[in-house]
Amino acid sequence: MGTVATADVKKPSFVRDWLLTVDHKKIGIMYGVVCLLFFFLGGAAALVIRTELLTPGMPDVVPQADMFNQMFTMHGSIMIFLFMIPMLTAAFGNYLVPIMIGAHDMAFPRMNNLAFWLFVLGGFVFLSSLYFGMPDIGWTAYPPYSIESAGLGLDIWVLGVHILGLSSILGAINIIVTVFNLRAPGMTFNRLPLYVWSSLITAFIQLFGTPALAGAITTLLFDRHFGTHFYDASAGGDPMLYQHLFWFYSHPAVYIMVLPAMGIVSEIIPVFARKPIFGYHAIAYSSIAIGFLGFLVWAHHMFVAGMPLATGIPFMVTSMIIAVPSAIKIFNWLATLWRGSNWFTTPMLFVTVGFIGMFTIGGLGGIFLGTVPVDIHMHDTYFVVAHFHYVLFGGSMMAVLGGLFYWLPKMTGRMYSEKLGKTVFWMYFVGTNLTFFPMHYIGMMGMPRRVFQYDPANGMQIANQIASFGSYLVGAAAIMMVVTIIVSLRSGAKAPANPWGAQTLEWTVSSPPPEHNFIEMPYVTAPPYEFGEAEEQYTPKKSFGA
């Protein structure tokens, strides 16, 4: 009978095809979807916070003060541990790293699947605190308050962070081994796409940093339940020890959230400028510098935490030095745009006007905070909130969205609507600036972070209201982004293999790529950004500058 032959090639079930998959691309997409769900949860908490701050007085939208404290704790923890870190390292890393270096999959595909499910489990544990009692300790969970904070909240939080940390270490090992061992013939380190460079360095940061965090929060748990006194001053412990351990992980962690973003920017700009990236080596090696120096600046979060002030000076110096590699990258990207042929697609807008434009503000804000006498005033105020949101939202988030639109045709096989995409961009851009720029002023005038009540004088309320309305616009932009993706999935034009004319390997295969990526092993003969015409053929009207 004719049906016999087709019986054994029947379509695999959804569970087998997706949930148990070992295909790095599917795992990457699953990470992305779950991360975006968390992004919406964390965003909802942010909108509650901003709504509360529309008025200076008592809690009025949340029923009580503790609930406000739980909101910013959940917001911070979700955004960092459940959105930004896994989105940049695991979602993008999984999808892109193997295919960009010409590998068929990750080095340890099964471990990859395990890491994903650990991530889901960790997220689930985190969210179970909605039921068991949310923690109210801030994402930093400083003792002694975190030790005496009542209820199960902190215990669940610690458990969640542990599971997520394990997942993150497994993911990092996978990326490191993959990049070292599975590169296609001809893919030397000097031909590695810059996103892969940044992922590799990020993976090393995760590997070395995460254990410090694990140590800090485990001892916290011991103090709570097993009668130890690591952080109990009355028994000879020291609360500052926790802060040292915590920031030894968490400052490098901010680079975990920004290096891959810089990698994405470095991928997108040369393609749409049709120029080789300016200073490939400088960009790659400055990431190494950041990865290394990132471990030497942690105490700039602790200038006023109880150390003698002068102890901060070496950390002021390292904080200044680490600003240099970031500046190098900005100038290199600008130089790549110079005499390019710049095509304004949605991803290009996100990484140029968005990332370069706003990360610059965040980085310059960091210089104020890195300078001890100025930080004494600014520390733990809304100025800091403005600074790191310019870096994380104006920077990393812009790159995430740029990358999402850039690789969407590859992942789904469908083009998105440029009109909708650009609308999303402008909503994000305006909303983000409205939300975070006034916060510099709010902090300088004397509003500490993590408060539901503030001084109504000095235009403080007006500035807070501008920030709140800005955040609603960002919320609308987030919804608009989902609409754009859904519209693209349902009615987008079929995507060709290489819609942007890019040169990295993922664009040499069909959209979406087949399982195992390459039918034939690719052989790499050139660096990834060989665009452009030689000077003679190039016909500028007038040369600019030099």
Partner: protein, 310 residues
């Protein structure tokens, strides 16, 4: 030159110096910001793609340029670091004979111990013409002692003593804020700094810390001042909002349900008893308030104040 717009008033020399360091960095930052945004804008617009297949120029790099734009930011940052370090030492080192006040943070109030042996809560009075050294610690968890008008802040850490000092300051009343998140009522851990003339300060010391407050006028005025200074208002709202403790507004004369199921009239007697012996009668839904350092006399004044609240 007054550098203080964008900041609360700067009330002493150190604050003014910090402001000028801020503006020094700000002018560099604005310059770099304008430079980057201008180049970005110009390059994007001037070199936008005109034909779909148009290529850019095949330019891979330029070592000389790259060295220049690495060195210039590095030198600028070194300059900032040098100024920053000098000022850091100045802020750290107090002069020889300073007037020392011990500061202790608690959930959620500030206690100030004066060398003459008395104590105030949430009310810090200092003379305008003296250098003052604050020795800061905490009685429970980490807080952060911040006087925005002095641009000074130090964490209050249990088991540790931190400090900052300030030179002569301008007269006036200024806020003191807790900048380290410390739980439920962190937002309301506020105190007042009162910089007064020398004579006024002497009076304040002679009265053992009673004078020199900003006594409110009208009925219950004394009670209001006490409620502010004793830290009551960091847990009790003056309206009907529920904070850590029940709100005071509109309660007087009503019946209160207690945690043991009985009811009691919310009158002067009940209020005073609740302050002096908090564990005796706890309203339903609350845990007993920690013991407060309030005399019966003072409790009476506070009850007068609660009477006036709607």
């Amino acid at each position: 030159m007054d550098f203080s717009w964008l900041f609360p008033p700067a009330i002493n020399d150190m604050a003014k110096q910090v402001d000028s360091l801020f503006w020094f960095i700000a002018s560099i930052a604005v310059f770099i910001f304008v430079l980057v945004e201008m180049l970005l804008f110009i390059f994007l617009v001037r070199y936008r793609r005109k034909r779909p297949d148009k290529q850019g120029i095949a330019l891979h790099g330029n070592t000389k340029m790259e060295i220049i734009w690495t060195l210039i930011p590095a030198l600028i940052l070194v300059a900032i670091g040098v100024f920053g370090s000098q000022m850091t030492y100045a802020i750290q080192t107090p002069p020889k004979d300073v007037y020392t006040i011990n500061v202790t943070g608690y959930k959620w109030r500030w206690d100030f111990d004066y060398p003459e042996g008395f104590k105030t809560t949430n009310k810090l009075v200092i003379p305008e013409d003296k250098s003052v050294l604050f020795k800061i610690t905490s009685g429970d968890i980490v807080h952060s002692f911040w006087i925005p008008s002095m641009r000074l802040k130090q964490d209050a850490v249990p088991g540790r003593q931190t400090q900052f000092w300030t030179g002569p300051s301008e007269k006036g009343e200024y806020p003191i804020v807790c900048a380290e998140y410390c739980g439920t009522m962190h937002s309301m851990m506020l105190a007042k700094l009162n910089v007064v003339s020398t004579e006024e300060f002497d009076k304040f010391v002679q009265s053992g810390g009673k004078a020199g407050g900003s006594a409110a006028d009208g009925a219950g005025g004394e009670g209001q001042t006490l409620a502010e200074q004793k830290g009551c208002l960091s847990c009790h709202a003056t309206d009907q909002n529920k904070l850590v403790g029940p709100g005071w507004g509109g309660m007087f004369g009503k019946d209160v349900k207690l945690s043991d199921g009985s009811t009691v009239k919310y009158d002067e007697k009940y209020i005073i008893e609740s302050i002096i012996d908090p564990a005796a009668k706890t309203p339903e839904g609350y845990s007993p308030m920690p013991p407060q350092q309030v005399t019966e006399e003072e409790a009476k004044a506070i009850a007068e104040y609660i009477k006036t609240l709607k």
